[in-house]
Amino acid sequence: MAGKPKLHYFNGRGRMESTRWLLAAAGVEFEEKFIETPEDLENLQHDGSLMFQQVPMVEIDGMKLVQTRAILNYIATKYNLYGKDIKERALIDMYIEGVADLSELILHLVICPPGEKDAKLALIKERTTTRYFPAYEKVLKSHGQDYLVGNKLSRADIHLVELLYYVEEIDSSLIANFPLLKALKARVSNLPTVKKFLQPGSQRKPPMDEKSFEKAKKIFKIK
């Protein structure tokens, strides 16, 4: 019997959280080895575990996978969350790349200098309500189905709902005019595996606080 996937990252969301969400939603148990010091990261780099010297890295099925997208693509395919054919996959990919773009803006909000925060926040809010939320609302409206693609739960729904939680943390009013997105969020949140992941005590990570930000900066040698 294959071992559980093992996630190598620091103890925070960053670029690993979407992988935690996807595994959890797929009902797959996983282990985590947290990088706590710069030496921990250096050890991984020196023993050849990290193809491009970077984390995230996931040990799964005898492989050491890096590059967030490669990891997510593998997991989604393995657990049948990637559509039924290449056309459905193309739609899923298109939708999740939009999620990735907005998530990237939110990720950078954490590390941006205090003087730039307000402008970045305004940009995130604007993009959310004028570019991204309308696009996904329109997709759901166009077919009237419960899920984004192929009338079946896919990674697109999971990644989008994860994003909806982050947007809610920033400003809970942003979703106000998007009833179908609200419904999708509720629906996906009620799936047994997701519901479990949303409860306290799961492997879901909280927003970064000042202390863990300083720690992460040290590990990744960010100034």
């Binding site: 193809m51 491009f52 010297q53 099925d61 492989m63 996978l65 890096v66 590059q67 967030t68 997208r69 490669a70 693509n73 593998y74 395919t77 393995k78 290449i86 056309k87 996959r89 193309a90 739609l91 990919d93 298109m94 939708y95 790349e97 939009g98 773009d101 570019r131 991204y132 696009a135």
Partner: protein
Amino acid sequence: MAAKPKLYYFRGRGRMESIRWLLAAAGVEFEEEFLEKREQYEKLEKDGCLLFGQVPFVEMDGMKLTQTRAILSYLAAKYNLYGKDLKERVRIDMYTDGTLDLMMMIALVPFKPPEEKEENIALIVKKAKTRYLPVFEKVLKDHGEDFLVGNKFSWADVQLIETILMMEELNASILSDFPLLKAFKTRISNIPTIKKFLQPGSQRKPCPDKQYVDVVRHILQF
């Protein structure tokens, strides 16, 4: 008979060039509509073609596709350039995702303020030489095969040769420490579809110039 894929973008490389390379490598003929005026872009938006209001936009197989990576993955799968199974595919994904990061950095260089350009290019060259190129040199060394994955031509090879050529434009001696990559470059360049694409008169786009930057800024209003 299916219509040819149609690419909508500026008359330049940007984020569309990788898509042109992959189509060309697969021997697929394609059409292009070049965005030269703001009105063309607004029309595409109005017609509901651009899911997130952005290009690249490719119309093919009855779909309106945007998002570079979504388009590339679709093409790779459709034209059998994505490995034979999931394990080969994940390796191709790891390799291409790495090089795409690097290429998107290169695509942004023309839009940086002049005082930042040199530093930016130096950073890209450093990343290529220390992080990316050594990996691919090692991959080729470890298996001794002609192609990166599965002893067969794949999207990973197309992406890598595109990256190598773009890096050489920034730094002519970038391959000096990588003999296997030099041989790889020659070998891949001689594949008939690639050879054809490398010749003058193909749909391959030249280095971005001031005119290109001006058109993009005008259309996207930044």
